[in-house]
Symmetry: C4
């Protein structure tokens, strides 16, 4: 929300640059931010390669702190120029923004080798920043809508798959046993998911004839089942596409080829009413 102040105040100007995307300055700021985010993600990713960390360790350390400080300043400015800073803090992107800078500071407050490894799990969340990119491309809209309107159906489907996977994992645990790698029912469930989704690592695979027969059945089942989410999303997308391109029909002559904002039928001149 824009602060309720004199539009000439520096705060209002800053708000427009940081939060809005339709002025030249705001656009340039966004582009700069995206470049910075990508750079910082690349630094984290490359910094995890052992050979590079040993040689350029201090460079990566410096860069990470530099990026963290820049993003911290950006976060504080966002808080400062937002009309209601608390509403921003608890918003989706407010959370992502704070999660993207916290891990580096946590690393500082709590030293100790053993804890550091546990903290890293938060550090990698910094890459969520990249998700901001999605905002800037208009074509993402239809995708989002289609996903949202079929989310419930996909949830039901995933639930059914989960139930099936528990049954199949248990059966394989009994059929194959611990000597063939199925050391527990959770491992069997992991195997069933690996198989049903057609990933098929091969780290655990059936060795007994009975186990292989059941596995083959699971695969053929998965072959038919993989069609379901595809069908759901395709139908939803087709429906949205159709609604987009459906035109208003004249109620007297049946003429359909009007623009959606037409007020009179282009064929017979009848007033077009939208009920």
């Amino acid at each position: 929300m824009r602060p309720k102040q004199n539009p000439d105040h520096w705060c209002s100007k800053l708000y427009i640059i940081i939060f809005e995307h339709d002025t030249p300055a705001g656009k340039r700021f966004d582009e700069f931010l995206i470049a910075l985010i990508l750079l910082s993600v690349v630094t984290v990713v490359i910094g995890s390669v052992k050979s590079l960390r040993l040689t350029y360790g201090s460079l990566f350390f410096t860069l990470e702190w530099a990026f963290t400080l820049i993003f911290t300043v950006e976060y504080l400015l966002r808080l400062l120029c937002h009309g209601r800073p608390l509403r921003y803090m608890v918003s989706f992107f407010g959370w992502i923004d704070i999660l993207a800078i916290l891990p580096t500071y946590l690393d500082l407050v709590i030293p100790g080798a053993h804890y550091l490894i546990a903290i890293r799990i938060l550090r990698v969340l910094r890459v969520f920043r990249i998700l901001k990119l999605i905002h800037y491309i208009g074509a993402a809209d239809l995708l989002m809508k289609a996903m949202a309107s079929s989310a419930r159906k996909i949830a039901v489907f995933l639930l059914a798959v989960l139930a099936l996977v528990v049954v199949l994992g248990s059966l394989m645990y009994v059929l194959e046993g611990e000597k063939n790698g199925f050391t527990s029912i959770p491992v069997g469930i992991y195997w069933a998911i690996v198989t049903m989704t057609t990933v098929g690592y091969g780290d655990i695979s059936p060795a007994t004839p009975a186990g292989r027969f059941l596995a083959a059945m699971v695969m053929l089942l998965g072959y038919g089942i993989i069609a379901v989410p595809t069908g759901i999303v395709t139908v939803e997308m087709g429906e949205l596409r159709r609604k987009e391109s459906s035109l208003t029909m004249c109620q007297r002559c049946g003429e359909k080829r009007h623009l959606s904002q037409a007020r009179y039928c282009q064929t017979c001149g009848e007033r077009i009413t939208t009920d």
Copy 2:
């Protein structure tokens, strides 16, 4: 079926709670039952992990018996308050309910290490209970209908795939032979299914040039074939969706935008007849 008794009889009241879902008491009972089912499934799954079984073995044993006894009481109550208990017993969920409690008792009646392992295969069937969950979500309907109306086509498709898989499995047995892991035609068929469904464990994979060439052909074939079940389900779903949203057309003016229960055309006032 509700018993034909005085609706104030405790049996009728129990029937409403246990079998029906639209009263507050019935709803609370269902929610409690689902929680119990999930808990018992989690107990079985976790109890299969060796390290946990060694430490908490007696706890898992007690819990399993507790859940079995609760479900046994539930089963007996269902029999008691159902108008025609035999019809319930031979129904789909009647079978699942009895299969979900039997394994624990069978474990008791027939001791002996060797037999126990064979009994376990029934024990895991208990997780079928979770399938009851499907009932409670409305969105499952469209999925079920689309699956049902395309079941025959998918069956034909699976039959054709099975025939293909037998031919390909035999060919690979001849081409690769026992030294490359294709020890028999059934193993070759298992390989063909693993490959056609794009699972691809890699526990058995061709090593000779001829075998690899045939395998590559099988994969490209599978690439084209995987489209078929997806196409079937998508078209069925689209059809069902269209039927749902198809509106009645006025026979005089061609106006289509009526609710399905409309009796007069909203444009020209003509009576709408449904033939």
Copy 3:
């Protein structure tokens, strides 16, 4: 083709039983034949398992000869009672029928251990017999039509995939080299097909960073490409389905809800003409 003889002749009666499917006798014959085909395929498949072959070798040998003799008699009867035997012989099922009995005889004519292994490749073709099954299920029609009308598009698609796969296989051969399993360009092409079709055995997989980067690109490409055959088949199926259920529209009142054999509009009585 039915022989041009007296319909009471035994040949005509035999033709109806063997070739036609709509009389009780013809139907019973077909069902018996399918059972026999399935039995003989099962015999071949089970007979390839080493442990069973060592114990029941002579039984499998006897059964195979028995089935071959029965199918030979059936083939001769087909030739005998068909109006134009040569046309039957060169038809699709004529070829399958002869290929299904030849291997056993070839095994007899040309003895010698070394050749036997080569002959086996023909022997397994016997399982093609099972393909006859497809005939008997009506739902296969729509599948066949959709496949046929999109065959050309799928062919173009497969051609493009093949070209891509040759390029990618060559690139991986150069990037990874012989030490990582990519011993030649054909092996690289085999790897590319295994990867693009998302089978992913893992018998050959990239180990260098450059190779892994290219492999990741190939996978993401394959992710987008797998959509194409599915799209083709789905659209074709939807089109066929729509044609099936499209109804004739009255040219005067626009009424569409007629059966396809309707001759007068059910609403206004106008003659329906099909142009």
Copy 4:
């Protein structure tokens, strides 16, 4: 572009043969060229097999030079008879044509074992020639259009997948660590792509319970996500197909069954206007 000269000039005649496809001579030239391209690709592919290279090395060397010289002459002729040679050179196929002959010459100019290996990466680009084939099949059109009109949506989708894959790869690096093969975040990203696309080599696979749980979540996610590109392409194809077969509607009687070039309604004789 055809040269602006006397049509009887040998240059114009050559242009028609080399660049155009609708004369008998032009068609024969194209067919010959395709055969030659396929032969040269096969030579390169087969020549990479070690055992064959050792025996027929000089033959492959000679053939490669022969093909290169033929294609060089073809390239020069194309330059010669094209009206504006520079425009041809910078066109898509101009680049492919020069890339398809350069590697062999580069191999000659710059000797030295170390450089040769780097040059080979260009050499394999010669197989791009095969891409010319696409031109000759009409059915490729619809495929190209559907791909083009959904390219932006697929790009957004791939971007979202890439962001997800970076997050998941980082998480797995932290969860599994270097001892289980996840030696760096790039390797983790490679694993995430291998898993999300359901390729699943199994060269790197999670071994800890937490890692396997996350991996299972990734697979189920990928199961739902794989539906998106399929949905996009299917809807686009269906849309294109519909536009192709959509007919002009008469504005007076609503009759729709006209050919697209119809000027009068076939039912009521009304003039059909296309606005």
